[in-house]
């Protein structure tokens, strides 16, 4: 097995450990677990960054050098990387560890799927001609930052609903550790905003790439169409908040629906007729 893939499969367990520590903190109410969770997540992020760089270098050694963003395996790894990076930035900015138990598991799942699914190959493959484009790199990077922000918004939406369930039973430490609903709502909104801007950039860079590779900036292929659907869902969500003042539960539900659409854009599209064909 290639060394970077070995490191990455270990990182999977590191993220799992981090998610568990964050969860212990919530369940037991002992603050001790929190810094441990953050520390372990940070270690995982650093190891993952190194592995990505190694993989990049390795691809050059193979004479087929390209950024590690070209197939399902690499995109899943990058997805997990953006989730943890964004999460740690948020944790540091707002100085609370309450979100960890709801966000880090997503990174773990993406890593686990990449590392252990028999359908995902971790080989470094050369780029076929259609993928040899710098626009493709900016496309993948912007899309995945968007997806990561939407993932965080979804985690926050789940927390919001959970907090709602426990209303009036504030004695449970588990729920007490969740931030106030107003804060959750505000953070979720901000994540959606970030995600929306990145998704918009992702769609734009994707169409520039399509324009230089296929001769049409938009051809309604299922992947493009689903990214537009996702964009429309979040646009509807932002409008209902901006103009109609929707808050709280409805927004939480919308952030979960939006995330489902993100997942479908990412994975589900492969099961539809017609495809994002690569020449």
């Amino acid at each position: 097995m290639i060394i970077n893939a070995t490191i990455l499969s270990w990182v999977t367990f590191v993220y799992f450990a981090s998610a568990m520590f964050y969860t212990f903190r919530m369940v037991t109410g002992k603050e001790f677990w929190g810094p441990l969770g953050s520390f372990v997540a940070l270690v995982g992020l650093i190891a993952q960054t190194l592995a990505l760089i190694l993989r990049w270098v390795e691809s050059y050694k193979l004479g087929i050098g390209h950024a590690p963003l070209s197939n399902l395996y690499e995109s899943l790894i990058f997805f997990a990387w953006t989730i943890v990076l964004l999460y740690l930035i948020i944790e540091w900015r707002i100085k609370t560890r309450n979100l960890g138990a709801f966000v880090v598991p997503f990174a773990f799942l993406a890593m686990a799927y990449a590392s252990f699914s028999p359908h995902v190959s971790n080989r470094i493959q050369p780029l076929i001609p259609a993928l040899q484009s710098n626009w493709l790199i900016s496309h993948v990077v912007t899309c995945f930052f968007g997806y990561a922000a939407f993932t965080i918004a979804c985690g926050l939406g789940l927390m919001y609903l959970l907090k709602g369930l426990g209303e009036g039973q504030s004695s449970r430490p588990f729920l007490r550790y969740l931030p106030d609903r107003e804060i959750l709502d505000e953070l979720s909104y901000q994540s959606v905003v970030i995600g929306f801007i990145f998704l918009t950039l992702g769609i734009i860079t994707g169409s520039v790439w399509a324009y230089s590779a296929w001769g049409s900036y938009w051809s309604w292929d299922p992947k493009e169409t689903w990214s537009l659907i996702t964009w429309l869902i979040y646009a509807a969500m932002l409008h209902s908040r901006f103009v109609r003042g929707w808050r709280g539960k409805r927004m939480a539900i919308m952030s979960i629906i939006g995330f489902a659409s993100v997942l479908f854009t990412y994975f589900g599209v492969n099961y539809l007729p017609g495809l994002h064909s690569y020449f």
Binding site: Q125, L228, F279
Partner: protein, 458 residues
Amino acid sequence: MKKTVLSLFSSLKLTIGLLIIIALASVLGTIIPQQYEGGESFRHLSPGLIRAFKSLQLVDMYHSVWFVILMGLLSLNLIVCSLNRFPTSWRLFRKIPSLDRGKPFENLSPDNVLVIERKRNEAIERVENLLRRRYKRVRRRETASTTSFYGEKGAYSHFGVYIIHASILIVIAGAIIGSLFGFDAFVNIPEGESTNVVSLRRQKGIKELDFTVRCDRFSIAYYENGMPKEYRSNLSFLKNNKAIYQGPLLVNHPVTFNGIRFYQASYGSVPGGQAYITIQKGDGQETAVTVKLGDSFYLREKDAKVTIGRIEEDLMSMGPAVLLNIQSSDGNMRLWVFKEIEKIRKGIPELLKKVPKFDPGLFKPYYFKLHKIENKYYTGLQLSHDPGVSSVAVGSFLIIPGLIITFFSSHRRLWVRLDEQEGKTRVLVSATSNRDPVGLKREIERLLKLLKKAGGVV
């Protein structure tokens, strides 16, 4: 009547409804196979269902009348709403509220009140300097007992939404221009040949270009593992038989000529390739021939005529092969000669016994060897002419500052009042913002700190 139509189109309920309907329609379009994807996916559907889909225009949905109507309604909604709202935003942008209003200071939190150990007339200048440095359009008004300031920042934030909405309209306009005045076409050109006739994709039918395209050469480069690395067509563009432009066309590197963009889209091989064959006789004597499809040669000893029936680049995944039709007094025989026969024999030892026509030594005393085939390719070009692209590009570019202004700026208005109390000066600070209350609160805290510092320094 006119009023209700107007109010319908300026309603946000309509917007959200339309956004959701368009999203759902698009979902439908990704589930129902679309015509241009080829008949392939239609095969599992019953004829009745196909007919129903066709009559509802669901098989080319994104270009159907009703989808276009939806987009039209959305655009109308956007335009009406923006026109409707713009005067209000303009007023908010321009207007400077009266300075000595009491309202901002009603119910003021005690945190927003500061006492400076100075006389008012000393404090005024310091406060004013501070405000002028940090705010725009700072105004001051004096009365006998108080001094009032007004300042603001981020007034442009009212326009972010219009930039976003305008850029979406510009993108839609570009798409309309493209579909009305542009075309997509494709053409296959064999190496060495030229054409000026291309097939239109959407409109069907053909189109004559006012220049000629020649494919001088098509080549494929491979990686070591066999994956394709590069597809390259060397093209010449000719007018009146004179080459105006010559150059390579690669995937991701289109070539534009006369306002038409050319893309490397596909390739294939055509008859006309060459094969290099040697024929060994039993006595070891070897003869080499170079043949094209349909060529013949004679084998004198057996009085046999050999005709090249096919030249295949990759026959049954066993590599290059040629088909020899051998006519002799023994009767007719067909023989496939593989280039990689040694490898094939190693891989499947009993193959030649089972399939004698793969045995290069079958027609005794001759033994055929295929050394190389030289394929003749055609290049598949995609052509596109889209005069709407620049509009789409402008719209896509504009939406980004629009989003940033909308989400990350806010119009903050600030009122500061100074009044004198027993030789000291009381400073009241009040502010409003159209968005981002948290950011506003932080800003006031910072301002209070600065005021305190400005007031304290002697």
